[in-house]
Amino acid sequence: MRKCPECITEVTDDTHKCPVCKSKISGEITNRFVTYPTIYKVDRIRLYRFLFLLFSIISTIVVVIADFQVKSRNITIPHVFFILLLNVFIFNSLNFKKDISSRILLFDIFLMLYFLSLDYFVLIDRTEFLSLLYIAPIVLFASLSFMIFFSLIDNTFAFSSVLHILILIASGVLYYLITFSKSFEYLRIPSIVCFSLSVFCFLTMIIVHRKIVFEELKKRFHI
């Protein structure tokens, strides 16, 4: 047994400092039953945060220089915007306590914001937004297929995915309502097909897993 020379505390583990008075102790360890592992700091998140900040800054600078070099300044803002969003997305994914569907949802939002900014800054004819007419329904359908695919290979039905899909579908419906109220001209066949398929998949999923959905709704909205 080792004794602290200052406060005469009997110390049983392999510490180098007296836990009571913090003076230095030495001697042979006789009782190994109460030792603790050696310190190692787990503070990876700070490191990730720093790395992504660095990556964001460097990639933004590189894109701005490249765009100026090829004289396509119009595209610079969407590019910078996209890189920043992508970094936020990657960082958020690393920091996650989230499941795959929430990550897909977040990615969709960032992707659509990028295409919208691209439309806004690059297109000359701003009456026809490509992102909304073509890309949004395709993204919606692709995301939905991904979510269903992941829930199938994981062999679990994640209710949170349903909520995320619901958000996607709702935003799709909202878009169609706005477009429909203006003119039929803005409706395009590929987008209508994609959107209809998305709604069909969603409803099928709900019907197939209706028991789980109702149970989960009961739990989630329990007062």
Binding site: D14, K17, K22, R32
Partner: protein, 395 residues
């Protein structure tokens, strides 16, 4: 333990215990109005211990489980999120894991009723009681609410900025400790509570001449008072208060502060008032229909201003742990620790097994003179103590 832990057996033991304790086999989910616990279908894991004790649980790494089971050499650790259970309930779960682990190692232990057995799962009444919320069950609307509490004296010390906490443990004989406590006509809890009050007075209170009282937060196992068999959280508490108004402040005076509070507060009526204070908001329909995100904001603000301001320090004595006969051949001792935070930077907890009493301090303070004072006071009474820590010298 008396031998090194074999992780593969520990995982199996954990799986068996989770079958017996379904309230631990859960994950937390967000509802629209409340968080709720749902069955966790994933396989539990055990991991190597890190000497950063009592950090927040990384749910993703932990597969959603609200407890972590870790091991290092011959020690098994269980850290539990308080929403699952309190110290007593958690210890039942831990005892079950230890018992199952020893049985998987062919220790030949026979359960004499000290550990909750898997066969009890067939007893529907027992299981229903174990998973019931005793706070709601014992809530009475016609009792008075507990009086609002004043802000407590705060120990003002430099604290670690990282999430590091010092863990300092003292091992002593429970028979000797009991004998000394009896000399003051007190229980072990009252005696140790008195020592803590004296230490705070001599080291901090005397110097800053505060008018705020020193309040020691002591959890109380409410199961004994309400005949509850619930495994879920059912802990109430008393706050021993000392304003040090007497001319002479010595150990006896401080023990008397604790004894008086215990006498006044440890009655069924007072505890029912505590239950009402805890539960009455939950019962109000107007508050229940408030969406979760608003509840979260309100609770966080409330905790910031009131949460820990009414405690100076935390102290809990879990009592004597009973294991099946012959366990002492495999188990050397049990430890029990409570978390601390920046506002209540030190906590103390004790537990006894097989005549070994272990007093554990979790401290965020860089200076350990409070712990030192307490150990010296115990030492002066003639009790020999052996100390161990997670401090390796680098901090």
């Amino acid at each position: 333990m008396n031998q090194d832990v074999q992780s593969e057996f520990l995982v199996e033991a954990l799986k068996l215990s989770l079958m017996r304790f379904p309230t631990f086999n859960v994950k937390i989910k967000k509802g629209f109005f409340w968080f709720y616990l749902d069955r966790n279908k994933k396989q539990p894991i055990v991991k190597m211990e890190n000497n950063y004790v009592l950090r927040s649980i990384n749910l993703r790494q932990n597969r959603g489980f609200l407890f972590t089971l870790s091991y290092f050499e011959n020690r098994i650790n269980l850290e539990i999120f308080h929403s699952l259970s309190d110290g007593a309930g958690g210890m039942e779960f831990f005892k079950s894991i230890t018992y199952n682990y020893l049985n998987l190692l062919n220790s030949g232990l026979i359960n004499d009723g000290t550990v909750k057995a898997l066969e009890e799962l067939d007893d529907d009444v027992l299981i229903k009681e174990e998973i019931s919320d005793s706070f709601v069950f014992n809530y009475k609307n016609d009792v008075d609410k507990y009086d609002s509490e004043k802000t407590a004296f705060r120990i003002d010390e430099k604290i670690y900025t990282s999430n590091w906490s010092d863990l300092i443990q003292a091992e002593m004989s429970s028979t000797e400790l009991k004998k000394i406590a009896k000399q003051y006509d007190a229980t072990i809890t009252e005696y140790l509570g008195g020592i803590i009050h004296l230490a705070i007075y001599n080291l901090y209170y005397k110097k800053c001449k505060s008018t705020k009282p020193v309040k020691l937060f002591i959890p109380v196992n409410a199961r004994k008072f309400f005949n509850s068999r619930s495994i879920r959280n059912f802990v109430l508490y008393v706050r021993t208060e000392a304003d040090y108004s007497e001319d002479k402040i010595d150990l006896e005076t401080c023990i008397n502060y604790v004894k008086q509070t215990f006498k006044k507060e440890l009655t069924k009526e007072r505890l029912e008032q505590r239950i009402k204070s805890n539960v009455h908001l939950e019962k109000k329909i107007a508050l229940r229909i408030v969406p979760l995100f608003l509840k979260n904001i309100t609770v966080k603000i409330g905790y910031l201003f009131l949460g820990t301001n009414i405690n100076t320090m935390l102290f809990s004595n879990l009592g004597v742990i009973k294991m099946p006969e012959g366990s002492s051949e495999f188990i050397h001792r049990f430890d029990f620790c409570l978390g601390s935070c920046t506002r209540t930077p030190i906590s103390c907890a004790g537990v006894s097994y097989n005549d070994v009493f272990v007093l554990s301090f979790i401290s965020k303070m860089k200076d350990n003179s409070l712990v030192s004072y307490i150990f010296k006071t115990i030492g002066k009474e003639g009790i020999s103590i052996k100390v161990n820590t997670n401090i390796k010298g680098e901090v």
